[in-house]
Amino acid sequence: MNNPDLPGPSRRKFIKASTLAASATMLPAFDLQAMAGILKNSKLKLALVGCGGRGTGAANQALQADPDVELVAMADLFEDRLASSYNSLAEAYQGTGKVRVKEKNKFVGFDGFKKAIDLADVVILATPPGFRPYHFTYAVENGRHVFMEKPVATDAPGIRKVLEAARLADEKNLNVVVGLQRHYQENYIQTLEKLRAGAIGKIRSGQVYWNSAGVWVRPREAGQSELEYQMRNWYYFNWVCGDHILEQHIHNIDVANWFIGEYPVSAQGMGGRLVRTGADHGEIYDHHFVEYTYPSGAVVASQCRHQPGTMYRVGECFQGTAGSVETNDAGVAKIFDLEGREQAAIANSEGHNPYQEEHNRLFASIREGGQINDAYNGAKSTLTAIMGRMATYSGQVIGWDEAMNSEVRLMPETVSWETTPPSLPDADGKYPVPMPGQYQAV
């Protein structure tokens, strides 16, 4: 009921991705050039929606993924963010003709995404995640190929909207790559091949981690409206960010879904804020611990923490009936037998970059007339993390269907500078923090 997509299309696509990834790295540049000739209209016009560090990084990768791609439009809520993004790309691509964004094609404001998307063949969606369902839907309705960052929504109505647009992307044969880059990382792909071949038997349990010191804080500035403050400091507001269990830890939760080959039936957990409690820190928690139960009975413990001075760990481990596996985003994946003896150590090849691979695959598929659609898994792994947040905020057991069908809406359907943010500070400048036992999650 809750896992029709993962073992089917996504698995096929992942295998295809791994074979193509291997061949793509061996293709010299002139072959890519020859491939580009396949399309009648060989230039691919690119638009960047969301010009922060990650969006700019994705644009940089897109510009390197294909010999005939050109950045033609940019959109951001803030002029200064757009300008610094444009300046760094223009400098890096000076003399290549790949960055040609006319002044009139730099769009500032909440509605800028439409105008930017209108001008492009391929769009990068990299704003804070709350906006993603609306941007993605508009891009697909208008027939654009999409690279979109994770997570893809902050609430269940947003997830359902993304799933609907995903089906439309299939109908229109559009390519959609979601920035869960472990799916494009050699050693994860190779590890999963070994797991599917029975290397550790059937997965029974796992632990997934994103424990770190936290992220940036952008202090309130004089003269800022409440909405502008929240947009600048978006990480700390659930309607736009969804909390760090979603914004970062989705990567590791997604690996659990991917490796187990299912989405969980339920989640329960606990969390709170102990260290990061200031008025600068909005309403999100600084730690979550969630237990996910899968249809096969596997149980995965998920922990994420934003507390300075504590242990860093970003990675995943799973225990199966015949052994165990450990993966992390940058190191070597290891497979052990039941006695803990190392059976395999799987490293990425020198120079492999999964962030680049995402765009290489996207553009190659567009050129070949193929179709990648990561949006289903992107939506369902996002919902898995949302379900975890629902569990930690409420202190209740949350079922998959309950989460998927929830009518609790964090993100307004339209936002303008006249919108009152859903969360407002009290007289002390502090925001209401979700309280277990009281919070209505679904």
Binding site: N211, V215, G309, R313, A330, G351, N353
Partner: protein
């Protein structure tokens, strides 16, 4: 109370060192008020050495090095966290040195990483910090200098090699063959593919632990120059971010890369998985083997010269 006594002792040692300018000073322990962290500084006497020739037929000159102190261990995650978090900045430093008159608040910090920069190897207090750019390592030195009042910086290539040799002229300080390397170093032969807590192996004759292996160590020089330590300049300042020089090899290297004379060039590929653009000034994403240790010259430069050492590319 214990800290007070120690502080007084350190202050006295520093005075002694500076006033005499002699080559044979004692080492000392730097403390960081507001933390339980310490940095042992080994005294390195001034002197000369003859580097191995890098070009056939070119006779290398003799390199002269002034006396300095060098941290006997690689800078750890524990120390680096104090710099990242800046939680002890406001704690006044007892027996503060007088070389550096800089408000610690005026030193900008490095960004807090989103990911595990140890790439799964661990960020425990005693592990050497890795994945740090030279700019970040130099900023650490500037911060430590502002905090303590003593002038700290990265070593020049010449200082590093001279200290590693510890008065010997063989490829390793313990001889010509790598047979006993495992007594002194974590390298590919014994590291199990990971770095290890600092100071667990035997030190070199001048008291420097892990001078070979564990993490490779930043120097101030640029890589293109083979003339480090020449009479005209103390070091060859970088003209671009890459390639810079790291010395000593790391846990992932074989014996050749751990020799006194072996040089490692930094490479843009060390940042390739940084998903942001522009990429971080402070962090690599793919070089957990890139760490550093610090030095303090026994005869510090003029304050106006500090930035030559701190403001690196």
């Amino acid at each position: 109370m214990k800290i007070m006594i120690q502080g007084i002792a350190i202050g006295w040692l520093c005075l002694l060192a500076i006033s005499s300018g002699n080559a044979q000073e004692a080492g000392y322990t730097e403390t960081l008020a507001g933390t339980n962290l310490e940095i042992d500084m080994a005294a390195i006497p001034g002197g000369t050495y003859t580097p191995a020739s890098r070009q056939a037929g070119v006779s290398p000159g003799i390199v002269r090095v002034d006396p300095f102190w060098m941290s006997s261990r690689e800078i750890t995650w524990g120390l680096y966290q104090a710099f990242l978090q800046r939680s002890a900045d406001s704690e006044p430093q007892p027996a503060r040195g007088s070389e550096v008159n800089l408000e610690v608040d005026a030193v900008s910090g490095a960004t807090i990483p989103y990911v595990d920069m140890s790439l799964g190897m661990g960020t425990g207090e005693e592990f050497p910090v890795g994945n740090v750019t030279r700019k970040a390592a130099s900023l650490f030195c500037k911060w430590l200098s502002a905090k303590t009042g003593n002038f700290y910086r990265l070593p020049t290539e010449a200082e590093w090699e001279y200290a590693a040799r510890a008065g010997t002229d063989t490829p390793y300080f313990f001889g010509s063959r790598p047979d006993s390397l495992g007594r002194y170093a974590w390298y590919s032969g014994n590291s199990d593919g990971t770095y290890h807590p600092v100071g667990k192996k035997q030190p070199n004759p001048w008291g420097l632990y892990d001078i070979y292996g564990n993490v490779a160590e930043w120097t101030l020089d640029r890589f293109e120059s083979g003339a480090f330590g020449n009479a005209a300049s103390e070091f060859e300042p970088p003209v671009a971010e890459y390639p810079g020089v790291l010395r000593g090899g790391s846990y992932r290297d074989g014996p050749e890369a751990l020799k006194n004379a072996a040089r490692l060039a930094s490479n843009p590929v060390w940042k390739q998985r940084d998903p942001q653009f522009p990429r971080s000034k402070f962090w690599f994403t793919d070089a957990p083997f890139a760490g550093f240790r610090i030095v303090r010259p026994q005869n510090p430069p003029e304050a106006s010269d500090f930035s030559r050492y701190w403001d690196t590319k």
